[in-house]
């Protein structure tokens, strides 16, 4: 397969310059791919698909009948991020996570930022993800966002923008590790001559971070990963991370609170638990504290957490900063808490509860992307340029009925990466989700999940909406000559 007919115009292409020549960092990769004999790349692609199926690397689809599994399509052509680009991303994310953490701690304590009038009070208290139960809570090291998967997109101007912060229970990191494994297994020669930074230290870093927030110091800390169970869409990732870290994967029914401490039920009796990496939403964590009808959670868990008997990552309540209206204020937070300008800009955002913004949004629905403040996974959104008049009318009514719940952003021209479509290459839109750990310090995994919208022209990269993924290569800095 050759790139001679590959179309690069109109969008920022991650591997090719507008002139049609490979970018310098992609030259070797393009040469390797073009040097393959006819049909070889497609054979590799089929081998990769088969391998994913054999390894059972699948996700569950809620819309289908229970237990339906699919592989998350993986495209062999990687996305490349250069060392200087990565330095900027890394610094930008560290700055952002630090400010967000300060903000959450402030909101659940003194609320200085509200008193100083930087963010309107009503924006916070009307957020669905604000948790009054967390007021006054002091998580270990005052960290609320231990694991973050920030969504970045690159626009036609070549600039990275932050699209979403995903502070609650971000998923996808297992695909970062597995995609790299599959690519190394199927197509090892593609790495030749390049210094691609490894990603396989993530599980050790994650474990180290989790141990750093333990409520007591004992020789053998008991860290567990709490999953909603095997029918959850991210179950593969839960078991993968537990396996890679060598910690127990537990369900709510495996845990019990006795005498204010958390224990797991084992064949030899109860065993004390110190740190819970929970992959269950706040609402379902503890029926005593949050939703009473939750069967997934552990009654009494929040009380044990508040008493400092067990640590939770991420901290409950941190989703307040995931609200898309509050997201719009993150640049202000960075200036307020860090005294710096944001390194990574936000996507410009219209807040429908502001009269002027709402008027503008309603008048420009064809060109904007409208999102509800609390949904994720590509649900509850309107992509203006791809919408019908009926859909726009439906959203206009929703916005007027509940302006607080909607924001709008210009439709971004997401950057593209060549992708194997049948027997040739076509550009497909991508985003980038790097993973950030915050324990003793901030760590950004040198890599990330590059999600790709496989449908022609589509801008929606979510796995639930026909998206796939690519390996993400962060290149090591070369020694200055």
């Amino acid at each position: 397969m050759r790139f001679s007919a590959y179309e690069t115009t109109g969008f920022y292409d991650e591997l090719f310059e507008p002139s049609g020549f490979p970018r310098p960092q992609a030259q070797l990769l393009i040469n390797t791919i073009e040097s393959l004999s006819d049909g070889q790349l497609l054979r590799y692609q089929h081998a990769a698909d088969r391998l994913l199926l054999q390894m059972g690397i699948t996700f569950n689809v809620y819309a289908d009948s229970a237990g339906t599994e699919r592989i998350f399509p993986f495209d062999l052509i990687p996305r490349i991020v250069t060392a200087p680009e990565w330095v900027r991303i890394e610094r930008g994310l560290a700055q952002r996570i630090h400010a967000l953490n300060e903000f959450i701690d402030d909101i659940y304590h003194e609320q200085k930022i509200l008193k100083d009038g930087v963010i309107p009070r009503e924006v916070i208290f009307s957020a669905n993800s604000y948790r009054p139960q967390c007021q006054g809570l002091n998580p270990p090291r005052r960290i609320w966002c231990h694991i973050t998967g920030t969504d970045l997109v690159r626009h036609t101007d070549g600039q990275y923008y932050v699209l979403e912060d995903n502070l609650r229970v971000p998923s996808g990191v297992s695909y970062v590790l597995e995609n790299r494994e599959v690519l190394k297994h199927i197509f090892p020669q593609v790495f030749e001559g390049l210094a691609v930074r490894p990603v396989n230290e993530y599980p050790s870093r994650l474990l180290e971070m989790l141990e750093s927030i333990a409520p007591r110091s004992v020789d053998r800390l008991c860290v567990v990963l709490l999953t909603p169970g095997m029918y959850n869409s991210a179950y593969f990732e839960h078991s993968f991370l537990a396996q890679q870290m060598g910690v127990q994967l537990v369900e709510g029914r495996d845990l019990t609170v006795r005498g204010g401490e958390v224990y797991m039920r084992t064949t030899t009796g109860l065993e004390r638990v110190d740190v819970i990496y929970r992959r269950i939403d706040d609402d379902f964590l503890d029926p005593d504290a949050f939703r009473a009808d939750s069967l997934l959670g552990v009654p009494g868990l929040m009380a044990a957490y508040k008493a400092g008997k067990v640590s939770l990552a991420n901290a409950p309540g941190n989703g307040v900063a995931d609200d898309k209206v509050i997201y719009a204020y993150v640049p202000e937070m960075i200036r307020y808490y860090e005294g710096e300008d944001p390194i990574l800009p936000n996507v410009p955002t219209y807040l429908c509860w502001r009269d002027a913004d709402r008027k503008h949004v309603l008048a420009n629905l064809e060109s904007l992307v409208v999102k509800s403040a609390n949904e994720s996974g590509g649900y509850g959104m309107l992509v203006g340029p791809h919408s019908t008049a009926a859909e726009r009318a439906e959203f206009a009514a929703k916005i007027q009925a509940n302006p607080r719940n909607f924001i709008a952003q210009p439709t971004l021209c997401l950057s593209r990466v060549p992708t194997i479509i049948e027997d040739h290459f076509e550009g497909r839109h991508v985003d980038l989700r790097p993973y950030v750990l915050y324990g003793k310090d901030v760590y950004v995994l040198p890599g990330g999940l590059t999600r790709v919208a496989l449908r022609r022209g589509s801008l929606v990269v979510n796995s639930s909406q026909g998206g796939g993924s690519k390996d993400t290569w962060v290149l090591a800095a070369t020694e200055p000559s």
Partner: protein, 326 residues
């Protein structure tokens, strides 16, 4: 040395059932595969015997309701592919995989891939042509054997592994008793068949159903009902003999509890130890004289009780909480 990590009750339960389901699927595949062969050796005027295979499952009523007459087609559909029948090969492998999936971080990746490969194999099993059937049952058996091999060579032989061994050996002992119980009538001399070559064929088929034909020959030579019963129940070296399997289960259980062999601290240990002693010190001629069917029936009752006690002793906490929140 670091102390062993505790094993979750739910995980122990899943490992035990994962192993039982794989073993069950393998046995069904072997029973059906052998019967396919056997039918070719029987004279054409003879009624094709598919009902006994259904009887070994203990689910003959469920078969009768859904399919009626036992023919090659209906029995193979029922035992191999029926996704509504919980003990079909397909359902067993699906259940084994679901259990494996829920403990994926406990077992090795190789084990997961093997059980996943088995699932992909049986998922395609509907509507196989008759000439593809022998190959298919062979492949299922081999894939189950591979699972055992991969389990033993890639997973640490820790408490979790012992639960796998416990489930496998108890299931194996159960299946061998069921097979014998269904076939015992052909072991009794009947007027019509005495001295015909069909005795030998039938008895060989019983041995082949537990992959025991060659090993039997090495030990006892000519096939006789007494030796056959001795071999399948009381042999201490043949891996599918009831006594051997129960001895292995007993060892696994003591490895789990840490209690010295020959003593007990919980009811599953006590009952398994009593059954083991019974098999160790029994005589085949006395057993046959007292009635083979009654003896086999007694074994099954005891093994069912042991299964209940294991769940009670090690997994009760998780089941209790599951029912409390259901």
């Amino acid at each position: 040395m670091a102390p062993a990590k505790p094993l979750l009750s739910r995980v122990a339960d899943s490992l035990y059932w994962m192993a039982r389901y794989i073993e069950r699927a393998e046995n069904v595949a072997r029973f059906v595969g052998v019967n396919l062969h056997l039918m070719l050796d029987l004279p054409s005027y003879e009624e094709k015997q598919w009902q006994p295979i259904v009887d070994t499952t203990g689910d003959a009523n469920s078969f009768l309701e859904r399919y009626g007459k036992a023919t090659q087609d209906t029995v193979i559909e029922f035992l191999a592919a029926d996704d509504k029948y919980p003990n079909s090969i397909f359902s067993c492998i699906r259940a084994a995989r679901e259990n494996a999936r829920s403990v994926r971080e406990i077992i090795s990746s190789e084990m997961w891939e093997q059980v996943n490969a088995l699932y992909l194999l049986v998922r395609e099993s509907r509507g196989l042509s008759p000439d593809a059937l022998p190959r298919y049952f062979h492949d299922v058996r081999m894939a189950c054997d591979q699972f055992q091999g991969v389990t033993d060579s890639t997973m640490t032989h820790n408490e979790a592994w012992q639960f796998i061994g416990l489930g496998r050996t108890l299931e194996r002992a159960d299946k061998t008793t069921r097979l014998l119980d269904v076939k015992y009538y052909i072991l009794l001399p009947s007027i019509r068949d005495v001295g015909t070559p069909y005795d030998e064929i039938q008895w060989s088929a019983v041995l082949k159903s537990v992959s025991g034909f060659e090993m039997y020959r090495k030990k006892h030579g000519r096939i006789s009902p007494t030796h056959l019963v001795d071999f399948l129940i009381f042999d201490n070296e043949f891996p599918r003999a009831v006594r051997y399997s129960i001895g292995r289960a007993d060892r696994a259980l003591h490895a789990i509890t840490g209690t010295p062999a020959g003593t007990f601290t919980c009811s599953s240990e006590q009952r398994l130890g009593m059954l083991k002693s019974e098999l160790d010190f029994a005589r085949v001629d006395a057993t046959l004289a007292a009635g083979l069917h009654e003896f086999l029936d007694g074994l099954q009752v005891k093994m069912n009780r042991i299964d209940e006690c294991i769940l009670q002793d090690f997994c009760a906490q998780s089941t209790a909480s599951a029912s409390a929140t259901a």
